[in-house]
């Protein structure tokens, strides 16, 4: 058990590693986790491949429909167009040949061309959308997590504080509101009734995307509403989770003993209570951060914000399984990496976890 004054840091020694576990054991643990990581990614990508190829949407028919829906294309030309598109999109070959070609490309980090934006590479489309998604979601996730965890921790510790009780009521009130309702309310309030914030796009029109003050200010300004909507919804769940965790920790013997021993309350809160309550929250944060590569479809749609989510939805409708696979592969890697990192850090963060 950790000594009271230094509950975590003092248990590590160079020889024993984590709580008496030899460092070689930790490396073996890393090896096992890395192997699991590779397996999870492999299975995930294969599942995505199977599901996308089982879609009833034919990208060739979608393209033909898009091209001909308004035009005067003679029916006899359509068959020629079908043949040309199948060749162009690389849809020839047996399923096995297509599967092997897919893995060859994946291993070269090449997702091939997008079929709904042919011949632009999928990687280019994702690369263009990802910074918007990552920027918005990473910031709003971290802010929501930080605020929620901090306030939740305080509310769990100072259970008689009226202000923090009120925070709890607000968090419980916000948490169950469907996201799109909250987003629409923000849109109507700040975009129409009191129109002070932009309601669409990632930055102002006709402003070059260069690292200037105007552009950065415009990006921040355009991110306020979407970020606020995500934070308001997100902070509630982190708040409630942390409050529940802290409420349990404060009843532990070592906390009671520390208080009786006259340890300063702020020290008890930060080192004895919060630190021990944080690991589950950190796991949730890691998974949420990994999940940002999925994009936030509703946020992007409601606020017209550029990002991966809309790209994915449009690709599904267009039957563009190259693009769907590209986005899902990035997402699988994101979530798996998030979980891997937290798994590797967990024994370092929580001394109660033994790696062997």
């Amino acid at each position: 058990m950790a000594s009271l004054g230094q509950p975590v840091a003092s248990v590590r020694t160079p020889r024993s590693g984590i709580l008496g576990t030899p460092m070689s054991g930790y490396f073996a643990y890393i090896g096992r986790r890395l192997a699991q990581f590779v397996l999870v990614v492999f299975i995930g990508i294969n599942l995505a491949y199977v599901i996308t190829h089982a879609t009833p949407i034919d990208p060739v028919e979608q393209s033909i429909s898009a091209v001909t829906s308004f035009g005067n294309t003679a029916p006899d030309a359509i068959e020629q167009m079908r043949t040309s598109l199948r060749e162009l999109y690389g849809l020839g070959g047996s399923p096995v040949e297509q599967y092997l070609a897919f893995w060859k490309r994946i291993l070269r980090a090449d997702f091939g061309p997008s079929m709904s934006a042919f011949p632009t590479p999928v990687a280019t489309l994702i690369g263009r959308a990802l910074p918007w998604t990552a920027g918005l979601l990473a910031v709003s996730t971290i802010v929501a997590w930080g605020l929620g965890s901090l306030l939740g921790g305080l509310a769990g510790y100072y259970q008689k504080s009226r202000g923090l009780k009120l925070m709890g009521v607000i968090a419980m009130g916000l948490h169950p509101i469907p996201y799109y309702i909250l987003a629409l309310v923000l849109l109507i309030v700040f975009g129409f009734l009191w129109p002070v914030l932009p309601i669409t796009g990632g930055s102002a029109m006709n402003l070059p995307q260069t690292l200037t003050f105007d552009f950065v200010a415009s990006v921040l300004q355009h991110a306020i509403l979407p970020a606020l909507s995500l934070i308001l919804i997100g902070v509630g769940s982190w708040f409630l989770g942390m409050r529940a965790l802290v409420s349990n920790v404060v009843t532990e013997d070592y906390v009671v003993y520390a208080e009786l021993a006259g340890v300063r309350p702020w020290r008890v809160l930060s080192l004895y209570v919060m630190r021990n309550a944080l690991p589950p929250q950190l796991t949730g944060l890691a998974i949420s951060l990994g999940g940002i590569f999925n994009g936030a479809v509703i946020t992007e749609k409601v606020f017209g914000y550029p990002g991966v989510g809309s790209l994915l939805v449009d690709a599904v409708y267009a039957g563009d399984y190259g693009l769907v696979l590209g986005v899902t592969t990035v997402s699988i890697l994101g979530v798996s990496c998030g979980v891997l990192v937290i798994d590797l850090l967990y024994p370092l963060l929580d001394p109660r976890v033994r790696v062997s």
């Binding site: 009833p56 028919e61 005067n72 030309a77 040309s84 129409f192 200010a217 550029p306 409708y317």
Partner: protein, 633 residues
């Protein structure tokens, strides 16, 4: 603590700047550094363009088309306006005259307009037209490759302003490929494409314009495109009609319908392409400066497109016209109009959209024939046509919409349509019984004793108005004892439609020029030579896979007469009569597009009182609107 103080300092420094700019008009989606008085903002209904920097429209489905590219930057030989046109429906654009065919329609000669220049100063000549054809026929993966390769045997330019197309087979409508309805085969710049190794993989960025505007800037994330009037706009085909009003055009993705309404109420979106009927009603109520096609109800512009219940005629259940007619007689079009458009629909009983030139050419002249038309139910003969249904819809709406509903019968017919089929469950029952169906315990069974199940395929929230119509029709059929079910296909509809994987669906297989009475635009594709075998992909537009020897005869006759020949109108009427008798699809209404125009900054938009062009901003023809727009002082 030092770090926290530093962060607070940065935040304090940034917040006033952010809030200051937030309260300016620039915060609300207005382009920076462009005077609002010189700018027209239009919706691009394609939404966010994921491949924003792609302007090669001749590549298949690679980038945006209606981001202003086809409306204001490109041009082709002819335009046919779906309304009355600036100077008549037909406009010789890059062509100096109408197409000249030889006697057997195997050769088409085109005289080209002189003095037209590309935006980079190169003169437009016949070589550009020749290059448009040869570039695409040599590269099979391009947008118009197939249609050009299947038609053109050779193309020559005997002089810089003449082009001669030699065709592989007689085709009296070949010029239609180079005639804009919504779009067409656009002319490409030879001097640009001849230097390109692979034209199908060339992005054409920055595009060289043949239209009156050039690209000013665009969003790499595909949310907006800004076009600027050319200094030499007189050297474009639009220059004949005067100087376009707006110096700048912004084609933007304003987001979902509710945001479009907000943007227009904030005067940040001058032309909404389309909103839900409820959005249009909200705009009409809340904004004094918003104008739609009709001044009042039903507001929307009726596109020359005809939504219908489309049967799969290769399905045994729907091969018999008596069954199709029975299902038609169970539909209450008033209920469908209310469900789909809340009454703001223009109905049509016949297989031609009730818009543009068609009411005068087809609907009105055929009214007497429709009134006298009879069907034999097997027990009696009935006259199913009710000429008063359009008026009944108007009267039904009058208590709630008041003065917005016109009183003049001609106005009512123009806004709500003329007649439709009476709801006649008894006749429907007799027709089903005639076809061998039986009703047991209130439910219909097919001649082979199975429940009469009809799936009605719709696109769901991708096309809510049509989905609402389909849902109402399902309800009406269910009430009559048919096991009708809604089948939400969402994005799979194009694939399933082509594969014939449906019983019925709500969509359209009829699209016309609108302003011109010729029906070959869609009708030629209904010839039995194009009907696919069951299980194989059906080319557009005969999604119903219906074939009929009498129809083939009509189509073959149309192919032998010229585009403007009055005989084609008579043949068109023959098609309509045949389609009424056979009911291969149940025509419902025009596809009404709720294009909303904000008159805060610009005035002179096309309307039903001044129908000089189609206001729907993704149509190529919408360029004509620009020369009539005037800034509001």
């Amino acid at each position: 603590m030092g770090g926290i103080r530093a962060l607070l300092l940065v935040a304090c420094a940034l917040m006033p700047q952010l809030s200051l700019s937030a309260t300016s008009s620039h915060a609300q989606g207005i382009p920076q550094n462009i005077s609002r008085k010189e700018l027209l903002i239009l919706e691009n209904p394609e939404g966010t363009i994921k491949n924003a920097g792609w302007f090669n429209i001749w590549a298949i489905n690679a980038g945006s088309q209606s981001n202003g590219l086809q409306q204001v930057a490109l041009d082709t030989l002819w335009y046919i306006d779906p309304e009355s046109g600036l100077d008549g429906v037909w406009d010789n654009s890059l062509a100096a005259d109408k197409p000249q065919y030889n006697a057997d329609f195997t050769e088409m000669t085109v005289k080209l307009r002189k003095g037209i220049f590309w935006s980079d100063g190169i003169e437009f000549t016949a070589d550009d037209v020749v290059s448009t054809v040869t570039t695409q026929t040599k590269n099979p993966g391009m947008r118009f490759s197939a249609v050009l390769a299947s038609n053109v045997a050779s193309i020559d330019a005997p002089d810089p302003h003449t082009v001669v197309f030699k065709l592989k087979k007689p085709n009296s409508r070949f010029h239609a490929n180079f005639t804009v309805r919504w779009g067409a085969v656009w002319i490409l710049p030879k001097h640009v494409f001849e230097k390109v190794e692979d034209p199908a993989k060339f992005d054409f960025n920055k595009p060289v314009s043949l239209g009156a505007y050039v690209l000013n800037s665009y969003d790499p994330d595909g949310k907006w495109y800004i076009w600027q009037l050319r200094d030499d706009w007189q050297r474009t085909t639009l220059g004949r009609y005067g100087k376009p009003g707006p110096k700048y055009l912004a084609y933007i993705d304003p987001g979902p319908p509710d945001k479009r309404v907000i943007a227009q109420l904030n005067h940040e979106l001058d032309v909404i392409h389309d909103v839900a009927p409820e959005g249009m009603f909200a705009l009409a109520k809340q904004s004094k400066v918003t104008r739609a096609w009709f001044k009042g109800f039903p507001y929307g512009h009726p596109d020359p497109t005809l939504p219908a219940v489309i049967f799969n005629a290769q399905n045994d259940l729907f091969k018999n016209p008596d069954v199709r007619w029975a299902l038609a007689l169970l539909i209450d079009i008033k209920a469908v109009s209310m469900a789909a458009y809340r009454g703001a629909a223009t109905i049509s009983a016949i297989g031609v959209p009730p818009t543009g030139a068609h009411p005068a050419t087809y609907h009105q002249p055929m009214e007497e024939w429709l009134k006298g038309f009879e069907i034999d139910t097997g027990k009696r003969k009935i006259k199913p046509y009710d000429p008063m249904i359009g008026k009944q819809i108007a009267e039904m709406l009058r208590p709630s919409m008041g003065e917005q509903i016109p009183s003049d019968p001609a106005e009512i017919a123009r806004a709500f349509g003329m007649g439709w089929w009476k709801v006649d469950p008894q006749a429907a029952q007799e027709l089903l019984e005639k076809a061998g169906f039986t009703k047991r315990g209130g439910a219909w069974t097919t001649p082979d004793g199975k429940p009469f199940t009809v799936r009605v395929m719709v696109e769901g929230d991708l096309r809510p108005v049509m989905t609402r119509a389909g849902t109402m029709i399902v309800q009406l059929w269910k009430q009559a004892g048919i096991d009708a079910r809604i089948d939400v296909a969402q994005g799979t509809l194009p694939t399933r439609r082509a594969a014939g994987d449906f019983d019925t669906f709500i969509g359209w297989s009829v699209e016309t020029w609108g302003g011109h009475p010729d029906l070959s635009y869609f009708l030629d594709s209904w010839h039995s030579q194009f009907v696919a075998e069951p299980g194989k992909s059906q080319p557009l537009r005969n999604w119903q896979r219906w074939s009929n020897p009498a129809l083939d005869k009509i189509i073959e006759s149309i192919r032998t007469v010229g585009f403007d020949d009055p005989k084609s109108i008579e043949l068109g009427k023959d098609y309509i009569k045949l389609a009424v008798k056979e009911m291969p699809t149940i025509p419902l209404m025009a596809y009404n597009v709720f294009t909303a125009m904000d008159q805060t900054y610009w005035t002179g938009f096309p309307t039903s009182e001044n129908p000089y062009t189609n206001p729907v901003p993704n149509w190529g023809n919408s360029r004509y609107m620009l020369v009539r727009l005037k800034p509001v002082n």
